[in-house]
């Protein structure tokens, strides 16, 4: 089953004519993803690669191709606008890969999205992968920038703020012989569209997902909120890891959202809360896969 996307999902790419967007659109196509359109205002009528049509607007692209999901690779000054255009076109899902969108822009986007049917993932996220069943998991849906080959189709749901740390967890699972239902990178920005909790709920309801890995980091209370919900509501075993135990307080460690604030914000405090809620906490990032397998 997987969540949000699968091998049948039709995806359009906003910003496909940019170097970054183009490169990853091609990698997604190589993976077997159904990239059915690209959108770049002013470049409608052109073709990306062999056969992917480019349109001026999301509305037209969706109408002509039946795309229901957008991947956004538009640069920061224009990305918030791109998100809103996709929402306006009534897409089911928007995955905003772009890093560097001003916080105030995202604040306004979130407010304007109230009441819409569109789910936003990101921004500043690695994207989402539902692995395929072919060789090296070919044939799945890869939206974003994750390396496809590390995945394997299976039953573990992965949700994380970080990109590369997600790949680490996924790779560990694959090496241990445990595949993934869907891997969701929610991104590192403080204001984003989808939280750990949102994804946990989806995994909880997904028949194909039997266990979950949740990866978090210092800053904010998203992981604690998710853990507390999981304690009373989640039927599936969860393993977790929180990055940033070594981060000095008060400094932003890369991700806009990763800064130690108060007492509940530290890696130690979060790990404690997770453990209290029945989540198996991996002490090191190299044991995430093993920790989950240990619960099964």
């Amino acid at each position: 089953m997987s969540i949000l996307v699968d091998e049948n999902t039709k995806v359009l790419v906003q910003g496909i004519t940019g170097g970054f967007g183009g490169k990853h659109a091609q990698l997604s196509l190589d993976y077997g993803t159904q990239i059915v359109a690209g959108v770049t205002p002013g470049k409608g009528g052109q073709t990306f690669g062999e056969t992917t049509p480019i349109y001026d607007t999301v509305e037209e692209a969706a109408k002509q191709t039946g795309a229901t999901v957008s991947a956004i690779f538009v640069p920061p000054p224009f990305a918030a606008d791109a998100i809103l255009e996709a929402v306006d076109a009534q897409l089911d899902l928007v995955v905003a890969i772009t890093e560097g969108i001003p916080v105030a822009d995202m604040m306004r986007v979130k407010e304007m999205m109230q009441g819409s049917k569109t789910r936003l993932i990101g921004p500043n996220c690695p994207g989402i992968v539902t692995p395929g069943r072919g060789e090296d998991s070919h044939g799945g849906c890869r939206i974003g920038i994750a390396p496809g080959y590390i995945h394997k189709r299976g039953n573990v749901g992965v949700v994380s703020r970080s990109g590369t740390l997600t790949y680490e967890a996924v790779y560990q699972l694959t090496e241990l012989g445990y595949g993934q239902s869907t891997c969701v990178g929610i991104g590192g920005d403080p204001i984003n569209g989808t939280s750990h909790l949102d994804v946990l709920k989806m995994f909880n309801d997904d028949p194909e997902t039997e266990a979950i890995i949740m990866i978090g980091e210092i800053g904010g209370n998203a992981e604690a909120e998710a853990a507390r919900w999981a304690k009373d509501n989640c039927k599936k075993p969860i393993a977790g890891f929180i990055a940033g135990a070594t981060a000095p307080p008060g400094r932003r460690m890369g991700h806009a959202g990763a800064i130690v604030g108060g007492a509940e914000d530290t890696a130690e405090a979060k790990k404690k809360i997770l453990a209290e809620c029945g989540i198996a906490v991996s002490e090191t990032p190299s044991d995430m896969g093993k920790t989950l397998v240990g619960m099964l």
Binding site: F20, P76, P77, G100, I101, P102, V103, A104, M106, M107, K110, E111, M112, P126, I145, A146, P147, I150, R161, S162, G163, T164, L165, T166, Y167, E168, Y171, G188, P190, I191, E217, G219, G220, N221, F241, A243, G244, A245, T246, A247, P248, G250, R251, R252, M253, G254, H255, A256, A258, G261, G262, A263, E264, D265, A267, E283, T284, P285, S286, D287
Partner: protein, 415 residues
Amino acid sequence: MHLPSFPSSAAQAVHHVMNIHEYQAKELFEKYGVASPNGQVAGTAEEAQAAAQAIIENGGNSKLVIKAQVHAGGRGKGTFKNGFQGGVHLVDTAEQAAEYAGKMMGQTLVTKQTGEEGKLVSKVMIAEAVDIERELYLAILMDRETCRPVIVASTEGGMDIEEVAEKTPEKIVREFVHPLAGLQAYEVRKLAKALELSGEQAKQFGKLIKNLYNLFLKCDCSMVEINPLVVTPDGQVLALDAKFGFDDNALFRHPDIVAYRDTDEEDPREVEASKYDLNYIGLDGNIACLVNGAGLAMATMDIIKHCGGDPANFLDVGGGATKEQVSAAFKIILGDPNVKGILVNIFGGIMQCDIIAEGILAAAKETDLNIPLIVRLEGTNVEKGRELIANSDLDVITAESLNDAAQKAVAAVGA
């Protein structure tokens, strides 16, 4: 600065706090109509004298204060390395202002917050000294839980707000502002009441907070904190000191704020790193890290610590790092005398393993690398990357997994 920790939905959505000087904050206040005492910045003793003269003539008030401009608190109690005491002084005449400016300018001020090295003073600010009847606290932050700006106010100004939050949290009020509708009049009235301001003072406060909120949005601030916000005996409401944080992501649309950056006040390694768009934070350990992705970079530091080592830095080369950036990263890392070994941990998504390999090899050659180099590659183009490393004549310790890499790094450095 360490932000107050408020209960549950409070605001920790702070980005990198690019500090600005007091006189620059004052410029912003003047531009946006946030009332603060008359003041002027000076770069020489002569300028200080002229500034003092101008303020005296303007306001008719000859009670002035001269303040050393450094990105640190505790200036009043600090000491200059030339022996002169105190980075903040009251002065009565323009000549006295010049005299004190002469003693401060070009000197290094050491305060509780600067560390032993202290900070070089290249500017001073001359301002009207104000009599203080009440000290209040006022801040605006971005709250990540509600995704709204939040105005934080307290009658307990002029002290450590963290302490207030701990001991008397009921004395702190928060007003969340609708991001599209903006600050409403009734919200301003609520805040004034909470601050026990009425009549003319409430009016002045109203103007100040509206303008401050406007500044906060227009400048894409992540934080602005006024502590203290003072009420003078004659009923003026003035911002006496301010700390700003700006959203890094928005600086592209604020060249004037970027121009405020004082690289003299920052860690030179971090300044160098930012020139190459690298995300670098220096720490105290001896195992340098070069990683792609903030989460993995933090996790790499964590596992080094776990294996008994001590990371020398946080360094995220990001996804699109070019050979030049990787090379620059290497040089910055090696500029740290504490570094006894380098751990490169790359899981390529955007980052391509062959690019990083090329960068590593180039950098190692250029810097004549003679300390252990541990490389762990995985992800996009991994085979090409590993091949490049294997085929080079460089002495590289390769690792398969994250754990393997950390253990090898710690062993190589001989922790």
